[in-house]
Amino acid sequence: MKVQRRTVLKGLLAASAAVAAPPFLRAQAAPFKIGLLTVKTGPLAQGGNQMEQGILTFLTEKNKTLAGRAIELIVADTGGNPAGAKTKASELIERDKVNVILGPLAAFELLAITDYVRDNATPLISIAAAEDVTQRKANPFVIRPSATSAQCCHAMGDFASKELKFKRAATISEDFAFGYEQMAGFQRVFEDNGGKVVKKLWPPFVTPDYTPYIAQISNVDCVFNGFAGSNPVKFMRAYADLGVKDKIPLLAGWTAMDDALLKSLGDEAVGVISAAWYSSEANTPSNKRFVEGMQKAYGVLPGGYSAGMYVAGQCVEAAIQILGGKADDRKALAEALHKVSLTDTPRGPVKFDQYGNVVGDVFIRKCEKKDGKLVNTVIKTYPNVSQFWSYDEKAFLGNPVYSRDYPPAKNLE
């Protein structure tokens, strides 16, 4: 804790030094360019818009000046596909010469550009969850202030087995890497605590009707779902409509019960327990500012996509502070970003492990209806959760990356 505070203090000193510097020095510095890789068209635009709102809220709050540097934000729309992400990353890096990139949204977009940002030595702060980007293929230019796919799911597995005392679980998630990794994390901790995952269902990303999958669920204590985008809305309605929700409690990953999604959900979401790395209920000063700013500017309750970008903005600010005046050296910036340690962010304290992934709190929330509105009430906080959970880092990295087949599901029925 002490070390953290000292870094922050040092950062603050640097900031005040920057402010105190003679005006002509500040005026000479070209604006610090932040490139935002987001999605503004197509099916993923929901999360993409929230990302943009998050960083805009942060920059507005800071009056577009971070640690004394004027900030220029350049927004690029990838269209939600890897090739688009690559082209837009090259637009930001080669044409606009940005100092740092925030984004992209989806794991498959991130994977398409990690080699590219390393080759072009541009720091990237992503909220995409692909595990290996901060594990076996850790990239010195990438940090992730949100969470790996499994980071919250480990906690969910723990909570489901230890606190809820569930013994048998089914999992359901989209048939893609984000889903595999989430379900794997849940399964690993749940089974290590004596539980059994007896059914794993993988509907395609595009599934008009989840009934064929839901109908297969029976004889379990709980169902863990990891849906993302607009899918959770569809899934949870079907889950409730088919009468399963009254019999089998539903657990969820962060994307499935994100606070920003609550306005799209109805009574079917009441009672769902979720694990998330951000809660709009969190009682930190910065979160209050953030939630207020989002309410004021957009009239919405923020969720993880916005919060992730707000935190990313804070990381950029802290890194500039660490570097004092030399924030234009991208390699140094990447190193500084790894060293960032923040005590007050909307998601709580944030620091990074040596692979660039966040170590931070994970909240277990229960969805309730208060004054006619849905809220995710925090019922337990797991502090300082690492991407490796309580496992030994070396052993963790010695295993294959989480996937559909790893860890193997030995208890399927």
Binding site: T41, A76, T87, E94, R95, A107, F108, D115, F176, A177
Partner: protein
């Protein structure tokens, strides 16, 4: 016949511009955009063989594009050399094209479109679901670009010239193909399939070979794509990509050499360049298509040529009148 002079001049200017492009576009980003236009133009030219000259509208070409890209990416990842990977990619694409052709050429028109669409979706589904082979939506990274005669294609400029060479070969082969007896036969099957049969042509085989020819160049474009992005994932095989290539062909003008190239330029520029300035670029792209089709139903290139000609004639007529008056 007198149109030959200006035409050669225009072609000469185009070649000069393409050859010197990286010199006066200093920024590698724009050079990369030029490479993208050329590589998509190759794909559009390939599809145009079927759509424009064969009258066979395929909505499954993204699968062929992806088949080449995946074969190359997976073989490279397995440690094979570029030559082996590329040859195998083309071979596999031809094989897939042959299967597509055998199944889809039982019909023409809308039914052909539907079969190719369904086959494309099936291949896309395989790329998505066969995770142990394709790594699903995580995609496959390609770590290196090939070297040509000792020249690395890692830089934007070098890669541009490599794509330009391939593009030029594609254009030349299309130009030869269109004029060739086989090209004439294919156009005949488009216009009067039954009569062609009665004249002694093997209509099915002509279409089959045209499909392979189209598949070959689609595969080449797929290879360029995977080397350009150094990455491939199932998204590129989705219906949207097939539709995009088809839109390039139709908006530019089917059965023309320049049309698909112009169409590719429109789509690539809108998607990648205009999107940086216009937030609702997708809407603008849609509006552009609607405008093209409203004012030039035969496509941008034939439409512009028509307007150009009639404008020229009015000008000349007006000039002639002016002379008389004075």
């Amino acid at each position: 016949m007198s149109a030959r002079g200006p035409r050669f001049f225009a072609i000469g200017v185009a070649i000069a511009i393409l050859l010197t492009l990286p010199l006066w576009i200093a920024n590698s980003y724009y050079v990369n955009i030029a490479s993208q236009i050329l590589l998509w133009a190759v794909a559009a030219l390939a599809l145009n063989v079927l759509v424009g000259y064969g009258g066979l509208v395929s909505l499954g070409h993204a699968a062929l594009f992806g088949a080449a890209g995946y074969t190359a990416a997976l073989l490279l990842k397995a440690g094979h050399g570029h030559l082996v990977a590329d040859l195998a990619a083309i071979g596999f694409t031809l094989f897939v094209s042959a299967i597509f052709a055998i199944l889809s050429l039982r019909s023409t028109g809308i039914a052909f479109l539907m079969i190719t669409l369904a086959l494309g979706q099936i291949l896309w589904g395989i790329a998505y679901r066969w995770v142990s082979l394709t790594q699903g939506d995580n995609g496959v990274n390609v770590t290196t670009r090939p070297r040509f005669f000792g020249i690395s294609l890692a830089t934007a400029d070098a890669f541009y010239y490599a794509v330009l060479i391939v593009f030029a070969l594609a254009v030349i082969s299309m130009a030869i193909f269109v004029r060739s007896p086989f090209g004439a036969s294919l156009r005949g099957t488009r216009d009067q399939a039954r009569r062609m049969n009665a004249l002694g042509y093997n209509v099915w085989l002509i279409r089959f070979l045209a499909f392979l020819f189209s598949g070959f160049w689609t595969g080449i474009a797929g290879l360029l794509f995977v080397y350009y992005n150094q990455f491939i994932s199932p998204q590129v095989m989705a219906l949207q990509t097939s539709a995009e290539i088809l839109l390039m062909v139709i908006s530019g003008g089917t059965a023309t050499l320049l049309g698909p190239i112009a169409g590719a330029a429109i789509v690539v520029v809108m998607k990648n360049v205009a999107s940086a300035y216009i937030e609702r670029w997708n809407l603008v792209l849609g509006v552009i298509f609607v405008l093209i089709i409203s004012f030039m139903p035969d496509g941008l290139i034939p439409g512009t040529a028509r307007i150009w000609r009639s404008g020229w004639q009015t000008l000349r007529a007006r000039a002639a009148r002016g002379v008389r008056v004075s």
